[in-house]
Structures are given as C-alpha cells and as structure tokens.
C-alpha cells in the first residue's frame, strides 16, 4: 500500500514529519517497507531563466543558451529542446547533479565544440512525467535560483506492508485513523454531504445471489465529461503507484485507495436491460479489463445484464462496458461481496486485483452509502453531470459485533498493565465503543474491523497503540535443578551417527528433499513416490524415497568441479506413504564415496579407488555407533537394482530385517546419474535399528578379565568358491562357544596350489582357557570341532 504524505494529510491533521510517521506506522504494525522522497533527488536542480538563445554554430537542432541561475554570471548551456527560448523559466541541472531518469552525472562538457555547463531538463528526465517533447516551462514568476526540490515541495511516499487482517488500512483513511489513535494528529471526519439524486435511476439493479452479493448499491450519473483527471488526482494516484487512466476510472481508484472502498463505473451506453448480481453460468466468459478472457463457473458471482457478464464481481470489470473518453452516462456500482467467494474465485482464476485484495479481506459493510456518496461527489466535481437516486438492492451484513472484555487481560495476556482510561481512549480513537458493565467491558467493534472478534484482539489493539516497547521482559518460571536431558532416543541417535560420520572423515551434506521424477523412480524400489502437483521445477518434483540420489548429485557436482575424492553423507528422512494415505517419513543415513580412497603417495604408491569394502566399513562402523548389534548382523545379498550385483550386500538382523545396504554402484545407475569412476554407496535404515532393551542405569557389568592367557591357532581351509568366507567364519565361531572367543579371516587366496572351483581361506581363531591351560589333547579336541564345523560349509582343512 503506497501513498504520499500529502494524501495522508487530507485525512490527518498532523505536524509530524515523514520520519516520525514512518516509525510510528511500523510500531503500530503497519510495517514501513520504504519512504521515498522524489524531491530529494532534485536538490541539485535549480529554477533558472533563459536569458538568450542563439543557434549552435555546428548543429542545426541545438541552441546555445545563456542561463541565469540566480547567482554569479549567467552560464552557457547547450540545449536541443525546441521550446528553449529567451525568457523561459525552466529547470537547470548543474554539474554534479544526477539525472533521476538515467543515473547520468552531469558535468561540464563540450557539445559539438561548444562548452555546456549544465542541462535544461524535461519532466521525463526528472522522473516527474512522460513529457519529453521539450524542457519544463515554469511560470514566469517562479523564483530563479531556488532549488527545484524546494520549489516543488517535498511529498514523501510511504510504502506500507498491510497484513491481511487489516482491510481497513488498505485505504489511506484507515492508516490516518491508526496514527491519530497513536497520538500523531487528529483524524478529520469523513464528510460525504450525501448527494441527492435528481431523477430515478433508469436502470434496474438487482442481486439474485444474496450469498455472494448481499448488497448491490448503484446509481447513474448522466451527462459526464470524461477525460484526463485533474493534476491533484493524478499526482495522488501516481504517488500510490497507480497509472492515471481517465477521470471516471481515477475517481473510483481514489475512493478505493483513499477509503479502502472498491467501486466500479460502467459505461451505461454499453449495458442492456437490468444489471444483476448473479452466479455465473458454467462456461460463461468475460474479457476483463486486463485484456484476458476468463471462463467462469457457477461458483462465481458476476455482475451481468441481459447481454452477458460485465464484471467478475469484486475482482475485475469487463473490457466491454468499461468507461472510455466518449462515455457520457455511467452506472456506479458499490457492492458488498462475500469474502470467501471472492477469495475462491480469485484463486480459481488466478486473478489478483486491488479490488479482490480488499473484498476478500473484508470491506466495511457499513460504508456502502458513504462510499457511493463520496464517489458521486468526486465525479460530479470533476466530470460534471447529474446524479440519479440511489438504488439499494439487498442488505449488507450488519457488521455489528460486541466483545466482552476484561481490561485486566491486557496485563494477563499482553504482559503490560495499561490504565483503564488509556485503554478506553485507545479503543475509542480506533472507533470501538466501550461500555463499562459491572465486572467487564462490553466493547463494540467498528464495522471496518472484521478481524476483531475476541478479547485477545482487543488486547492487541490496546498494546500495539500503547506500544510494544512498554512490555517488560518476564522470566519463564524455571524448574528446580539443572536442565534435564530433552533429546528423544531418535534425536540422540541422529546426533550420534551424524558426528560419528563426520569423525570418520565424511562431509555432511543437506540436499533437496525433492528430486527429478526419474531419479526418484530409480530408487523407489516399487514404493509409492510422493510427486508434487505444482513443483517449482521438474528437477524438484518427487519426494526422495532414498537419500542416495541427492548425494549422488552432490558427488557428481564435486567431481565435475575437479575433486578427486568425494566423501559425503546425509542424515535425513526418506518419504514413504502409510496405509491410510498419510506420510510415513523414515530416518536414514546415506553415504556416497566416489573417486580415490587414497591418493597416490610416496609411501602407498598408486592411488586406490573406493571399493565395496570401504562401503562395508562405513556401514558397520556407523551401525555400531547407532547401537545396532553389529556382531549379529548377517551379510546377505539383494542390495537392490542400483547396486553392482556382485559387489553389494545387505546387512540384516535376521532374514527380513534389513538394517543397511552397501556396495558399488550399478553401471546403469552411474549412467543414469551421469557420474563416472568408482562410486561406493551406503544406506542405513536407522528407523529399523531395534531399541536397546532394559537400559536401567549407568553402572556397567563388573570387570572380570580371564585369569589365563588366550592362545591363537591358525586354520587354512579349502572352500568352494560360492561359499562366503563369512559363512565359514560363523560356523567356526560357533564350533565350541565355551572356548572360542574370536575368529577372523586373515587370508583369501585363489590360484596356484588351490584346486579349481575352490579358494583357500585362512582363519585365526582365539581360544580362551577358563579353568586350566590347554594341553595338547584339549587343543586337538577343539581343532577337531572346528574342522567338523567347517566341513558343514564344505570346507576341508588344507594339508
């Protein structure tokens, strides 16, 4: 909402300067976005008189002027304007001045060989108008030598952000009312001086849609003369950021911007028969004033005559019946439209307008007559003519509301005790009525405040005018003792794995929750993918079913920037759908390792690329930090189609409980994501990690180191190629649980000396004696058990 100080002053008697007003508006909740003073840019432009005008010796279209600037000797100025002539009083830009229209800084310069000490300006150059046919001509008695800014007078323009609850402040008058209540002047009453009609309204006006248009007031003014509106009106509208159009249109805009009261003027000659507010017929169309054609539906209210629709009610008039220069008779419409219907219609048509903004927030239902009178008066003043009697079809809602209010609530809710007298003063200044009942006040709400319907709203009115600065800070009551832990187990888990991953050398990325559809589909694994109806772009359309695609994108960007090694992870949600159609968001952690695990080095030799075991190491380490029972995890297959089938695996707790998947990327996936080189992937399904059971306290089990020293024994087995070493290891570990406390694979050899179809797998087994040290017989017995257990996996002890 923009308006100039001069417009505000027509409603508010005030001595306050622009800065004070701006600060107060912000303090009232009418947030100032900017205060612009066009005249400030004109301080270096001066009222000056042309003394002589001679033809430029080198150019036909230029003249060399001698200009009196009010001080010192006259200046020589080269000028190309056809109206430049001796005796003209105009506006001279002096060297150093910046031309508002183009930002050019004036300086002394030769123009076609003749020195010019400034520039005589047109209105367009000074951003004061569109005229560029000649230089500005001021009255002959304009004071030569004064700054043009001073000559014009300063009229700062305020740009105020109006929150949607304040339709009353979508007119300058409402803003003036707030300022007056806050002590910044006196509000001038609205004088409509009701304009009596001199003849019956010649048009039938009706509302056939009492819900959408409860009230439709109208009248005709005949014999008007349309054309450009007077300068004061044009200036006011320009200050408000509106383009003047014609006197009739400008008058309706003035009433809308001045009083927050939209109205519409139809060219009566373009109407046929009764003018009716009714529901649109499905499929009916109208070309609006913005030149666009809109197809309407029966949920929308329109103003129509026998020939068709002329107005999308409360939003935008029709092109056909709009006022033009030749208009002589007008029908004025001042109506009350249902805010919800306006909102819905505007949303459906995706059509915004100043009228819609006001109607959907709620215009003053008690201001129809006044609005119509103000508009009539203005048109009669500017365009002449003769007004008919007013037709009032329907009745606007009463807008009468009262609120039971306890003045103590200002302190109880607003945190500041405002004396009753001051509260009453504020409320009454804002137009509220206050009646002191026995134990509370009955506050009547002015018709222009649809937002106020409860006691907290009254508190807001009181404290915002009283000043929020006056609210003292009061400490929240504090619970006894030190702060208690607040993180839930899921939050604690998330924090822990995040820092564990960072500690392992991975960078945490935060990537978009949405992906291109194809990327989401690639990782959907048959699950439902949430896909936006109105994405901001095709790249941000489908909610990620996995964190991997986003990280792959990040990895690719890093590689494209020349990174030789990328280690990134993300902790976040993957988006699934629950049975009942609601969202099912699961906590995940994903890692992408791309490029070199180790760069070439003087000690390590050639660079080593990431492989599936790097992925496995991350998966197990992070699962361990997450509290998963890593000792019990099984390495199984079926990591998914995005993974290299021979170099990927799942980590499971039992056959169905997949806690993680990891491995090398499938070449098809790499291609789909346009990423080159070795890429290892890890995805942890943190939501599936079972909660720890029976965590009771902090004390740990007693420390009981074994009394006897453990011994290790090595076993080398021939194992069929298809049997995973891990299976052999698990069998061996389980061969004699009383004695075997550990086992690990330390060699996997294929080739010379190993039979075809087999591999040699060597294990180091740790044996822990309990009561007495092992003798040969005991060791042999254990070894036999190990060999027997290994045999179940098809393993044969190597000779």
């Amino acid at each position: 909402m923009k308006f100039a100080l001069s417009w505000l002053k027509t409603f508010l008697d005030t001595e306050a300067d622009a800065d004070t007003i701006a600060k107060k508006l912000t303090a009232l909740g009418l947030e100032i976005e900017s205060v612009e003073d066009a005249s400030a840019a004109l301080a270096k432009f001066r009222v000056a008189r042309v003394l002589t005008a001679e033809k430029h010796p080198q150019a036909d279209k230029l003249q060399v002027l001698s200009v009196d600037t009010g001080e010192g000797a006259p200046l020589q100025v080269v000028c190309g304007a056809p109206n430049a002539r001796a005796g003209l009083v105009g506006v001279l830009g002096l060297p150093g001045a910046t031309v508002p229209a183009n930002g050019m800084v004036l300086k002394v310069a030769a123009v076609r060989g003749v020195e010019s000490n400034g520039m005589m300006c047109s209105t367009r150059e000074l951003n004061l108008g569109d005229d560029h046919d000649g230089i500005i001509e001021l009255p002959a008695d304009a004071p030569v030598g004064t700054s043009y800014a001073d000559y014009l007078g300063s009229d700062p323009v305020f740009d105020v952000a109006i929150t949607p609850n304040r339709p009353d402040c979508m007119g300058v008058y409402g803003i003036a009312r707030d300022l007056a209540a806050a002590g910044l002047g006196t509000l001038k009453p609205i004088v409509t001086g009701g304009v009596a009609g001199s003849f019956p309204c010649p048009v039938e006006i009706r509302t056939d849609d009492a819900e959408g248009c409860p009230a439709f007031y109208g009248r005709v003014i005949r014999g008007v003369k349309n054309g450009p509106s007077p300068q004061w009106l044009q200036d006011a509208l320009k200050g408000a950021g509106q383009r003047p159009i014609s006197a009739l249109v400008d008058a309706t805009n003035y009433v809308m911007l001045g009083y927050g009261r939209p109205a519409h003027a139809y060219d009566l000659a373009r109407l046929t028969g009764a003018v009716v507010a009714r529901r649109a017929v499905d499929g009916e169309g109208v070309t609006a004033l913005n030149g666009k054609h809109y197809i309407l539906d029966s949920g929308m209210t329109v103003i129509a005559d026998d020939a068709g629709v002329h107005d999308i009610a409360g939003i935008m008039g029709g092109e056909h019946s709009g006022c033009a220069d030749e208009t002589t008779d007008v029908l004025l419409e001042v109506a009350y439209f249902n805010p919800q219907r306006i909102a819905r219609t505007g949303q459906t048509l995706a059509l915004s307008s100043d009228a819609r903004t006001r109607f959907e927030r709620g215009v003053d239902p008690a201001f129809l007559d006044d609005g119509l009178a103000l508009l009539t008066k203005l048109i009669l003043e500017i365009c002449g003519g003769e007004a008919s009697e007013v037709v009032r079809a329907g009745t606007p809602p009463s807008g009468q509301k009262t609120v039971a209010y306890d003045p103590a609530l200002a302190g109880r809710l607003g945190g500041v005790d405002v004396p009753k007298g001051e509260q009453q003063r504020i409320l009454e200044a804002l137009g509220f009525g206050v009646v002191d009942a026995a134990d509370h006040w009955v506050v009547s709400v002015p018709s222009w405040r649809p937002d106020v319907d409860g006691a907290p709203d009254i508190v807001e009115e009181v404290i915002r005018v009283h000043g929020l600065d006056a609210v003292p800070s009061v400490a929240l009551p504090r619970a006894d003792g030190v702060a208690k832990p607040t993180a839930t187990p899921a939050q604690a888990l998330e924090r822990r794995v995040r820092r564990a991953a960072a500690a392992r050398g991975l960078h945490e990325a935060v990537t978009w929750s949405f992906l291109p559809e194809a990327e989401a589909a690639h990782f959907a694994d048959g699950q439902f993918v949430w896909t936006l109806a109105n994405p901001i772009s095709e790249d941000l359309k489908a909610m990620r079913p996995s964190l991997l695609p986003g990280l792959l994108g990040a990895a690719k960007r890093n590689l494209d920037r020349g990174a030789s090694s990328v280690r990134v992870f993300e902790v976040g949600r993957r988006y699934l759908r629950a049975e009942d159609g609601s969202s099912d968001e699961k906590l995940s952690l994903a890692v992408v390792l791309a490029g070199e695990q180790t760069p070439r080095g003087w000690a390590s030799g050639k660079a080593r690329s990431f492989d599936a075991f790097d992925a496995k190491a991350e998966a197990l380490a992070l699962l361990g930090e997450a509290g998963a029972p890593v000792e019990n995890l099984q390495v199984m297959g079926e990591a998914g189609s995005q993974f290299h089938p021979g170099q990927s695996a799942t980590l499971r707790l039992g056959p169905k409980q997949v806690l993680a998947r990891f491995g090398m990327i499938h070449p098809v996936t790499a291609k789909a994501f346009d990423i080159d080189g070795p890429v290892a992937l890890v995805e942890l399904f943190l939501d599936r990690i079972p909660a720890k059971k029976g965590q009771s306290g902090f004390a740990r089990a007693a420390y009981a180191p074994p009394a006897l020293q453990a011994v290790t024994r090595d076993f080398a087995f021939l194992l069929p190629l298809g049997v995973p070493a891990g299976d052999l290891l698990r069998s061996v570990k389980g061969a004699d649980k009383a004695n075997i406390t550990g086992a690990r694979v330390f060699d996997d050899f294929r080739g010379t000396g190993v039979p075809e179809g087999h591999k040699s797998v060597a294990l180091e087994v740790t044996l822990q004696p309990v009561d007495k040290s092992y003798d040969e017989a005991a060791l042999k017995a254990i070894a036999d058990k190990i060999v027997a257990a290994a045999a179940k996996q098809g393993a044969v002890l190597r000779g």
Partner: protein, 362 residues
C-alpha cells in the same frame, strides 16, 4: 710384559667386533697367553707368586677392560652407523586421514536444542508431508483465508484417508497442533525441521529450515515471550547487548501477533548482531515471528483456552546460521560442495554444550 703392550695396541687398533674377539681369544681364551700365564701361577713358589701374581692379574684385567671398552666403542659406532643409514625424510607427509564435517544447519539445530534444553524446552517433530488440516485449518487458516494464498504452498494431488489434501508443510507450526494433541499441557517444546515454500531467489530456497517454539501453561503472557526470545538470542549469539524490537503483526495462529527485529550494525559490509538498530550504520532485521497462541489454535489442540494460554515463535535456522557464522548465500547450503562444507562445516567434536560454549569461534 711385552705381550701385554702388543695386545693392548692390537685392541686399540681392532676395527671390527670380530678382530676384538680374535684378540680376546688369543689373550683370554683357553689357549690364550694370559690364560697360559695364569696357569703358571700354580707352579710358582709363594714368593714368586707374590711377585708375579699381581702383574699377571693386572695384565688380565687390563686386557679385559680394554676389550670391553673397545667392544663398546665399536658397537656404539656400529649403532650410530646403522641409525644414520635408517634416516628418513620427515618432511615427507605421514598417512593422511580425511577430515569430515557437520553441516551448519545441523550444528545450529544442536546449538538451539542445547540452549532451549536449559530453558526447559524439549524437542518435538512432525511430518514434512502434512495434511492441510494440520498445516492450515487447525492453525486458524480456513480454506479461503488470504494468508493461505500467501504461503506459496507445494501441493500433492493426493488425499489421506480422512480426505485431507496432502502438501509440504509451509512452516513448523503444525507440530504445535500435533504436540498439543499428543501431550496436552503444560508444554514447552521446540520443533526444528525442513519446511517448503514455492519460492526461489538469492535469499529464498524452496526448502529451508525453521524452528518453532511453543509454551503452553497457565499465566503465560507476552512478557514471557519477550524474555524467552531475548534470552535465547543472547545465548545463541553469546552477546549481552542483544536488543529486540517488537512490532505488532499478524499471523492467523497467534493473537496478539508480534514480529521481532534484532538490532545490528554494519561492520565491513556485514551485519553484526548487537546493540539497538537506530544508530549510525545500524538497522533492524526481522528474525522471528511470534505471538500469543490464538484461542482457536489451543482449541484445535484439544485444550481449554480459558485454562491454558501460551506463546509460540518461529524463525529460520538457515538465517540464524548465516547471521552467526557469516555465510551469505542460502543456495550454497543445499549444494553439497565439499569445499563449502569444509569451509563452513563444523568438526565432529564441536558438540555444543553450555559449559564449553554453544558456539564455535572461527
């Protein structure tokens, strides 16, 4: 004792442990000349023994000592030579371990959780794919409410089983409703998380992070809100000169509604939070939206607004991170550029604690 002289000279001249050993054998070995002399002692008369004994023993000791000394010297020289040969160039690099980092958004969320834990606020969460009832209706934004249109909402074509339209939450405020319904009152929570608006430019991304705060209790008023926000911002920026400016505003879910500006001064072209904004080079910057929870919202949360009242606030986590740690482009937050992450990210051990400080100095 000419032999002794010769032997000692030979020892001094011996340049390998083997040469020393050979001399030892020649002198002290079973066949050695010292051993031979020692054997002669047995056949001597007492007087002779008295005279010769000490000489022979002295010769033995002299040779033994000289051998030991020479052996030690040679060993020491050999060790020196070996160590010299083992010299490595320690200007060469050792094995390198990659350094990881925690994203600024995560770090700041941890900081906020730490600060608010001290004020008694637990951390709550809710789904990012929300239904329009929780995101709008229950927050006092019925279908035709103008504020709905101002939210630039991302919609899904889907509805849930209750026929509610599914969308991406536009703010963390629906967590207010979910928490009230689930936990009742009294309540002190913060709810950080991702939110979405269909908006994209240098300072807006279609996804960003918010943190919501909610207090529901008896006798809570605007003064408590002001104190809480002041206390939080002082703790977050670790400055005592934080000055807030409260401005009346409008949010459908609070009444009265208050926008909160924080004073800053421009230092080298960057905003530094602290002090009042009405000074030279100063200004006010909006950091929070807040207010007293609307009675209707409390009702939607299943509570009696005559019994309970409270306040709520919301702010942008990314913006707080930018203000505190100096990033100036929001879009870089979501690019995953490892160079940016290494520059602006935080060490794994930078865990915010009240005793160690919630912020990480540059």
């Amino acid at each position: 004792m000419e032999q002794l002289e010769q032997t000692l000279a030979a020892i001094a001249a011996a340049d390998t442990p083997d040469a020393v050993e050979a001399i030892r054998v020649a002198a002290l070995g079973k066949q050695g000349w010292v051993s031979a002399l020692l054997k002669t002692l047995g056949g001597m008369s007492p007087d002779q023994r008295q005279a010769e004994g000490p000489k022979i023993h002295a010769a033995r000791e002299g040779v033994t000592a000289a051998l030991a000394e020479r052996k030690g010297a040679l060993e020491s020289a050999a060790l020196d030579a070996r160590l010299a040969a083992e010299t490595v160039d320690l200007s060469l690099p050792g094995p390198e371990a990659p350094r990881g980092s925690v994203h600024p958004v995560s770090q700041v969320m941890d900081e906020l959780a730490e600060i608010f834990a001290d004020l008694g606020f637990a951390v709550a969460s809710g789904p990012e794919i929300e239904d329009d009832w929780h995101n709008f209706t229950a927050l006092n934004m019925p279908e035709t409410h103008p504020a709905r249109a101002m939210h630039d909402t991302f919609y899904f074509p889907d509805q849930d089983a209750k026929g509610r339209s599914m969308l991406l939450r536009t703010h963390t405020s629906p967590v207010q409703i979910r928490t009230m319904l689930a936990e009742g009152a009294p309540l002190r929570i913060i709810a950080p998380g991702r939110v979405y608006r269909s908006d994209s430019d240098a300072t807006h991304t279609p996804m960003f992070h918010q943190i919501e705060g909610l207090v529901i209790d008896k006798g809570i008023h605007l003064g408590h809100l002001k104190w809480t926000l002041e206390t939080f911002l002082k703790a977050f920026f670790e400055r005592d000169d934080i000055v807030l400016r409260l401005r009346p505003s409008y949010f459908p879910f609070t009444e009265p509604s208050v926008e909160v500006d924080v004073g800053y001064t421009l230092v080298n072209g960057k905003r530094v939070v602290g002090g009042g904004g009405d000074v030279e080079n100063g200004g006010w910057m909006e950091v929070l939206g807040s207010g007293m929870v609307n009675r209707k919202v409390i009702e939607f949360g299943g509570l009696d607004p005559d019994e309970w009242q409270g306040f709520a606030f919301g702010t942008g986590v990314d913006r707080l991170a930018m203000l505190k740690y100096g990033m100036d482009d929001l879009r870089a937050f979501f690019d995953g550029d490892a160079r940016w992450l290494a520059h602006y990210g935080f060490g794994a051990l930078d865990v915010p604690t009240l005793s160690g400080g919630v912020g990480v100095k540059s």
